[in-house]
């Protein structure tokens, strides 16, 4: 029984309840919770790296009858990602929401969202996953409306909520088919049983399409830009960095662990093709976006696309060992994007808060007025474009290398085109920000605690993940020793 898993999921839930109970303490409490989560995440990944596998049967009932929580290296890596991003966003949100009432309304929902993310990452039960998905969707939509009385924000939150519901519904339909076919909901029990039956295939399609809605893969993407582009900055950061990412995490689990006997190369190629369209189309839209946050949101579309481009390449790799390496690159890309995108949104938020807008053509002087935030945006850009020494660079190197190795050079073309387009839209932002304003005095300075989280995250994505990436492979290799991957 690994109590640490309970700490991971229950601490944010308790934080949410306590913030609701004692609003006046909630600012400090949230900071503490974020720190505790980070420490817990670190301990979890450390123990996973030393070969301990984590498992907790809730209620003491064996999986199948009860629900189990478990953490392998993949889950552990994502838990740590979530802990890092949410701590940064928490520190940031304390300064971002200047109205105290807004903060008091924000914290309980914030920690509910966090609960949903961790519960989803650790859950080993299909129906439980459905509940966590609903919690994720509802709390995220509710957060989108915080502090905003703008029609635009409410409308996109509503659309986000509705699409999330449709996605969950598809997922639930898939769950019920799986239950009818195999009589169990436990992922562990299912992993050995899944066979190539028509019902299994349909279940896979239903589960996948439900999650693809939540990942915003083209053509199910249309809700994302508005929702991510009009939420408050810390919420956008978490939505773009984590919420779409955990849906993708579930897809990975389904495709590579559970349904690997049903996954055909045709299916993988189809998914990769949609990902490729997302890469190009998202980048093109980002290139023409009028607002920074919208640009960042479209960039999320395109970056999520890369994750799907990895799928056919991985599926075509000949042997287990290279696939393991390629899988590590995929995880690295996801982590890198998560951290960098959060940094980007937090950096943009600083500018938006101070200037009152985030229109790209009116960014002149930003590099002078908000040097830290703008530097963070630039660094995040490096990681998002996939330039060295960022983690995304290593991941793209591996993707290109593997696509050449498997003779699928077209994925390489997509990757490189996307990279160039991404560079182009970041150059646009940097260029706009570097233009100096006249000699009029800069506006009041911006607090460090508002700017620092973005910078820390950006450095982490660009340098930390780049230089420290090797340990990720070690952890993944350890953690999946007993697993399927």
């Amino acid at each position: 029984m690994s109590t640490i898993l309970i700490v991971v999921v229950i601490v944010p839930l308790l934080a949410s309840l306590t913030c609701l109970m004692l609003p006046r303490l909630s600012d400090r409490l949230s900071l503490g919770t974020g720190l505790v989560q980070l420490i817990t995440g670190g301990l979890l990944i450390q123990s996973l790296a030393s070969g301990i596998s984590h498992f907790h049967e809730l209620g003491g009932w064996s999986p199948g009858l009860g629900i189990a929580l478990r953490a392998d290296a993949l889950a552990g890596a994502l838990v740590l990602l979530c802990a890092i991003v949410s701590l940064a966003a928490t520190v940031y949100a304390r300064r971002y929401f200047t109205c105290v009432e807004t903060r008091y309304r924000f914290w309980p929902l914030w920690w509910l969202l966090s609960t949903a993310i961790y519960a989803l990452l650790l859950s080993a039960d299909l129906f439980n996953l459905y509940v966590t998905l609903e919690l994720l969707g509802l709390s995220a939509a509710a957060l989108c409306t915080i502090g905003a009385a703008k029609t635009e924000a409410l409308r996109s939150a509503l659309r986000y909520l509705m699409l999330g519901l449709v996605g969950s519904l598809l997922f639930l339909a898939g769950v019920s088919m799986v239950y009818a076919e195999y009589g169990t909901l436990s992922l562990m029990a299912l992993a050995g049983q899944i066979a190539q039956t028509p019902a299994t295939l349909v279940a896979l399609l239903l589960l996948s399409s439900g999650l693809l809605v939540k990942c915003a893969l083209v053509p199910l993407h249309f809700w994302l830009p508005a929702a991510h582009g009009s939420a408050p900055a810390p919420v956008s950061a978490v939505l773009s960095a984590l919420v779409v990412k955990v849906a993708f995490y579930l897809l990975l689990r389904l495709w590579f662990e559970l349904f690997s006997p049903v996954m055909t190369s045709l299916f993988a190629t189809l998914i990769g093709g949609l990902g490729a369209i997302a890469v190009i189309w998202g980048s093109l839209r980002a290139l023409t976006a009028a607002r920074l946050k919208l640009l960042a949101a479209y960039s999320t579309l395109s970056q999520m696309g890369y994750l799907f481009v990895f799928i056919p390449v991985l599926a075509a790799l000949p042997d287990e060992e290279t696939r393991q390496l390629g899988f590590g690159a995929l995880v690295l890309f996801a982590l890198s994007h998560g951290i960098a995108k959060a940094a980007l949104f937090l950096g943009i938020g600083v500018i938006q808060l101070q200037v009152g807008h985030d229109r790209i053509d009116q960014l002149a002087g930003s590099a002078q007025r908000f040097p830290i935030a703008f530097f963070a945006i630039g660094l995040a850009g490096v990681a998002l474009v996939g330039l060295p020494p960022s983690g995304a660079f290593l991941a793209k190197w591996s993707l290109i290398s593997n696509s050449l190795l498997t003779g699928q050079w077209w994925w390489m073309v997509v990757t490189l085109t996307g990279t160039l387009l991404a560079a182009a839209y970041f150059i646009r932002v940097l260029g706009a920000g570097f233009v100096t304003l006249g000699p009029e005095a800069p506006v009041k300075g911006v607090g460090v605690s508002l700017q620092a989280p973005a910078l820390v995250l950006a450095c982490l994505a660009t340098f930390g993940l780049g230089l420290g990436a090797a340990s990720l492979w070690d952890v993944l290799a350890m953690g999946s020793a007993g697993g399927q991957l």
Partner: protein, 499 residues
């Protein structure tokens, strides 16, 4: 950690750490900022001196860090690295002094010097890169570190120039990346090794290797400003003078040329490249670029633009040297890496002095400037004569060896005419400047700055060109002395040809 691992890392850190600290400084702390810069630059110089000694003793300097399975980040120092490292370290020191004076009282200096240090870090890292992967990493890092420097002034023109610069170099970086990844999947880790590695690997498809060579050259050619990939260079002239100096003499352009040398000698191996038949097209292209750059330079009235096209032409000497089989041509090409750097930086310092002190930007405004600013103009003259190839200035040595090498490889029939034509063209665009500067009557200057000093301008502006011009004379005149660039390059050539 042994000294062999530590020294390359310390050399990197000696500019990286000051750079990072400088970012955090406020605008007013200029004393601390300048101090940090100078301490870093001097420390780097001392460390490099140790490195030279060690490499001469055939000590091994290597630091290795696994980034991902099969992808090692390697810093490895060989004779060629030492050449480039010492060049950049020396010129960085001089340029730092110059930049401190040049940017006095201008805004955003913390940002400028921060990126300036990062830029040198990337260049030095590129010089010490031990495999193609590490090279690519620093190659891209260099692009990123120089972008804010080019855009530094923040005028729409500067931002546009910087955007074009970034577009070109990122696209080039991608081509290089494709080539590197492709080669990596075919041939393993690609650790640079004197004499090349591909020739020893059996079972490689020559056609694939030719395609990869094309990709690599295209990627490197962008920074090396090979025709037709040179378009960014004249436009990047909007950068402040120290940046232009660094870009042209040490960092960006030289990184491309250095990369070409690396790929030809230490990845493909010069003999294997000749065997593949890829050297002749490269040589032709380099020769064309040499003539093309000079012709374009003729018609430029803007001084920095004229110098920029001159760079396009001069840097291709290095590629030309690399593309001719034989140790003499190698010596000519590689030594030009150093010689061109020293001479070109002098020219840009001088151009910066004219612009900063007198507001003179155009050749047509330079009448009589030699009398107003004799020291600067003297430095300019020495460097310009060197560029033309007049002994005893350094440029002569390079051209001499190139010519000998071409004869040795029995390619003199087309190389010698190119060298002659280029020298004539060089003379044609430099001599009129010299004539105007020394012999035409003075005009009214657009502005007068820094006149309160004893010299012709700020001391920190006046001395750097004088020093580098002297250096250009010394390396040319004392080319046969021990530890001169020429002697060092002969050592490199011996090792490359496994003689």
């Amino acid at each position: 950690m042994s000294m062999g691992e530590l020294l390359p890392l310390m050399i990197l850190c000696s500019s990286l750490i000051p750079g990072l600290i400088i970012f955090a400084l406020s605008e007013e702390q200029h004393r601390l900022r300048s101090g940090l810069n100078m301490v870093g630059a001097v420390a780097k110089l001392l460390l490099v001196a140790g490195l030279i000694w060690g490499v001469y003793q055939e000590q091994v300097f290597e630091a290795r860090w696994t980034l991902a399975p099969g992808l090692d980040f390697v810093l490895h120092v060989d004779a060629l690295s030492v050449l480039f490292v010492s060049l950049s370290t020396l010129l960085w020191l001089v340029t730092t002094v110059y930049a401190i004076g040049y940017l006095e009282d201008s805004p955003d200096r913390s940002r400028f010097f921060g990126f300036f240090s990062l830029c040198v870090t990337a260049t030095v890292g590129l010089a010490m890169a031990g495999n193609l992967f590490t090279f690519v990493v620093f190659y891209e890092a260099l692009t990123l570190a120089t972008y804010p420097l080019v855009a530094h002034k923040g005028t729409p023109e500067a931002v546009r120039g910087a955007r074009i610069y970034l577009g070109y170099t990122l696209a080039g970086g991608l081509l290089l990346l494709i080539g590197a990844v492709w080669l990596r999947t075919l041939a393993g880790p690609l650790e640079f090794s004197e004499g090349g590695i591909l020739g020893d690997i059996p079972g490689l498809d020559p056609d694939n290797l030719r395609w990869i060579f094309l990709l690599l050259m295209a990627g490197l050619g962008v920074k090396a400003a090979l025709f037709p990939l040179h378009g960014w260079l004249p436009r990047a002239m909007v950068a402040p003078a120290p940046v232009s100096a660094l870009l042209h003499a040490v960092a960006v352009v030289k990184a491309g040329a250095f990369g070409i040398v690396r790929v030809v000698y230490d990845v493909y191996g010069v003999e294997f490249s000749a065997h593949l038949g890829v050297l002749v097209p490269l040589g032709m292209l380099a020769a064309f670029t040499i003539v093309y750059g000079s012709v374009r330079a003729l018609s430029q009235d803007h001084l920095k633009k004229r110098l920029a096209y001159s760079t396009v032409s001069q840097v291709s000497y290095i590629a030309l040297g690399a593309s001719i089989l034989g140790p003499l041509a190698t010596i000519g090409g590689v030594v030009h890496l150093v010689h061109q750097g020293i001479m070109k930086i002098t020219l840009f310092f001088a151009a910066g002095n004219y612009a900063e002190t007198l507001g003179v930007h155009r050749v047509s405004e330079m009448d009589g400037i030699g009398r107003r600013m004799p020291a600067t103009t003297l430095a300019f003259t020495v460097a310009a004569l060197g560029m033309i190839g007049l002994p005893p200035v350094a440029g002569f040595i390079s051209k001499w060896y190139l010519g000998l090498g071409a004869l040795e490889a029995s390619q003199g029939i087309w190389v010698i005419p190119v060298l002659v034509a280029s020298s004539l063209l060089n003379a044609a665009y430099f001599l009129p400047i010299l004539y105007r500067a020394w012999f035409m009557p003075q005009r009214d200057w657009p502005r007068q700055m820094h006149i309160g000093y004893r010299g012709e301008t700020l001391p920190s502006l006046q001395w750097p060109p004088v020093i580098t011009a002297t250096l250009a004379l010394l390396v040319g005149g004392l080319a046969a002395a021990p530890f001169s660039p020429l002697e060092w390059v002969e050592l490199i050539a011996l090792r490359e040809y496994r003689l």
